[in-house]
Amino acid sequence: MAQASQRIRNFSIIAHIDHGKSTLADRLIEYTGALSKREMEAQVLDSMDLERERGITIKLQAVRLNYQAHDGKIYELNLIDTPGHVDFTYEVSRSLAACEGALLVVDAVQGIEAQTLANVYLALDNNLELISVINKIDLPSAEPERVKQEIEDVIGLDASEAILASAKTGVGIEEILERIVAMVPPPKGDDEAPLKALIFDSKFDAYKGAISYVRIVEGRVTKGTTMKMMSSGKTFEVTEVGVFAPSMRIVEELRAGQVGFICASIKNVKDTQVGDTITDADNPADKALPGYRKATPMVFCGLYPVEASDYNRLRDSLEKLHLNDASLIFEPETSIALGFGFRCGFLGLLHMEIIQERLEREYDLNLITTAPSVIYKVTTLKGEVLNIDNPSNLPTVDQIVSIEEPIVIATILVPSEYVGAIMELNQEKRGTYSAMDYVSKSRVKLIYELPLSEIVFDYFDQLKSRTKGYASLDYELSGYKETDLVKIDVLLNGEMVDALSFIVHRAKSYNRGRKLVEKLRGIIPRQMFEIPIQSVIGNKVIARETVNAMRKDVLSKCYGGDISRKRKLLEKQKAGKKRMKQVGSVEIPQDAFMAVLQIED
């Protein structure tokens, strides 16, 4: 038994978004022959279209590779993929916890990024053996020596043994596989001990129910085992177990050290939470594996159907997405302006964008998204503490004792010439400086405390544009802090549009209120009548703009030969208008509700 687990290596890949993780994974799969070239297209780790387009992994996956090493023995290498974005830090930490080693992939041109660094720390927390791989050495601008130095300076790893590779051309692939066999320790774990399986992902399947992707830490599991979720105590009967080879293949049993999946006719992915421990109900482990926490949404927005009749379809679609993504939460809400919709919670901005895009593309919904908000803690005169995730629910000023907002610790890695630009940006974003480190001669690590609401508000774009794209960011929630915040409401044609309300620091309120109405003036098309746009704090108007009445919208001629074409032109115009939301007497384009994000401070 112990003999078998000696030939297992569980590893993952740590890399920044476009440093070539997916290509490298593809190459490893190809080299070990798990898939033919043709199958590569259809399968492989990034299975959603969106992931392919954006070049990122959203949903983790796993794959088993059988590799005959130079010593003649065949090893079972389990590659556990990790999502490469700050929104999914917790998921990353759980997949790392399922491994004994990790490939640290660094782009030979770009060097180390904040995201990579954050994940390296997670790997070190989990005592993973790290193998440095310098990728893209085929590029003419590659600087492997500089990057090696950076790995040594920034992370403190000995980079003299770093593998020089190109996932694109295949250079270094065999060396990587050999190094995994040699360096990554085989899993320990006693397969006679009570079952402990770490869930590092889950997926909903219409036929099999929620499938848990697991690493068996101790014990064994077979079909018929009564399994128990240690966080909730819920029990299920295992219907099948299997491995990813790379498509799902049923096996007799999974035992300590192995990576695979467990099906147990679980109806809801909520019952297979990432980070939870599965044990055997008949012979339970006394303690769960460490590190489990519930996924907590940080960013909220309202999602409304443009057509009120799509409400039920939107609910069904959100439920379907939720089946696969327990971190997406939603509950019904009503807006005076937008009607019935949902307030949805996301792990972060990217997560939010992905869900929106999937709803629109895969479920063909025409949606209005309101600007994202964070959760504010509001203490009222009555002594209640309210969690406000929708600005329009903020009590009136006379009811509020204090408002607290979420604060994050942000780590920014940037070439030293941009330190000034970052400091300036963080100043504007109400950041508090906490530390600065030269991680190499030319790169600096800055640590700031920042309000999460400022990160939600245009931070990424500013960071990119002010550093020509060289800065990278990682952050984690650190707590709440009382701040002087006010709510700005927007009136269109004298009527308040609740979905446009937002909460902002008092010092910035006039500026943002003014810029927002300017922006809206550009977005809202001219209509049959003049539309005043005002931003107000309480009853006080702080800015006003006017969309003039439309003056020309006419077919100048329309005669016999032309009637069909002109009718179709009007039909087309009408269809375009249908994509707008009628609020009172004003027609508002969908992007107006996100306008607050597009203004600069």
Partner: protein, 397 residues
Amino acid sequence: MPSLYVHVPFCFQKCDYCAFYSHSLIDSPKDLISVYLEGLEIEMAKMQKDAPQGVSSLFVGGGTPTVLKETDLERLLKMIQRYFSMGLGVEQTMEGNPGTITDEKAKLIRSHGINRFSLGIQSFNDQLLSAVGRIHTAKQAREAIRRLREAGFKNLNLDLMFGLPGQTMDLWQASLEEALSYSPEHLSLYGLMLEEETPLYERYAGKTRGEKGESREVRGTVLEVDLLPDGDLQAEMYEWAVMRLRQGGYRQYETSNFARPGYECQHNLGYWRGADYIGLGPGGVSCLNRVRWKNIEEVHAYENLLRKGQSPLDELGKEVLSLRECMAERMILGLRLEEGVNFKTFEKDFGADLRDIYRSVLERYKNEDVFIIVKGDYLCLNPKYAFVANSILQEFV
């Protein structure tokens, strides 16, 4: 009785804004016009043999009918008179370009039954004319008016355009004033529309002066031909013209059409009131009993089919209109008219009261100011909103 339209798909040279089907004579083979006339004659004969038909009015349009040389023109006109005998009172219009009208042609046209002439002046400013590729000059326009009057035309329409590249309010006013000085019975004023796939579209799409009512140079006669007047300036030109023509004794009986009482164009009124029509010639469109079809455009193919005894219609251009589409067209065309849409005719033609069919739209637009007005048996658009009619009209499609 349907009206009759005869399409003459030839121009000396196509104008830069024109999206209609027409051959430029400069690069057409010499015999193309003969081929066209051959085909047209067969089409007329075939039509009168298959389903003899009287017509309520005639419009010979194009293209530029007057680009035909006299013998061809004569053949065309004689052909029409032979197959469609029209009484004296029947309106018979031909349109033409000032650059192609000689004394002889004017007389010839008048002597073959044509009693109304529509002249494409567009502007009395040579720079504006050349900016949109018109072949004629202001001087030729003045001469053409004189020739047509001398030939005995007592019902004359002048087409003018506003919103031309570089046009200012002053230039527009000057053109309209000059047009009025010739006392035309009828005026058509068209705002320039950028149609896709025209040279003008390629040149100007997205290049208007002023955005959303920001300050614009409206006055003065300085030509900035690299910029098109924006919607606001066009609206000002239009509103001024509507006011000026009312003072001058013209009635605005349709969005773009103005006439002295009794000189409204009967042929076009037919389209706007939803009457049937027959369109002959390549690219001609007909609509009878809710079926609309279009002849193929290419002259040789058109003639070929006819010569083989076949129908020249373009299968792709055939459309069987649903009742709903017919109603929609009745509304969007009828609301262009000052008189509006007649409830009774609507009910007679469609078996339903338009106030029931469009109840929700009418109620909505009744509440917001008065976009739509009921006058006796008619439903009409508040003339104040004629130049922004699309927003309302699209509710009916």
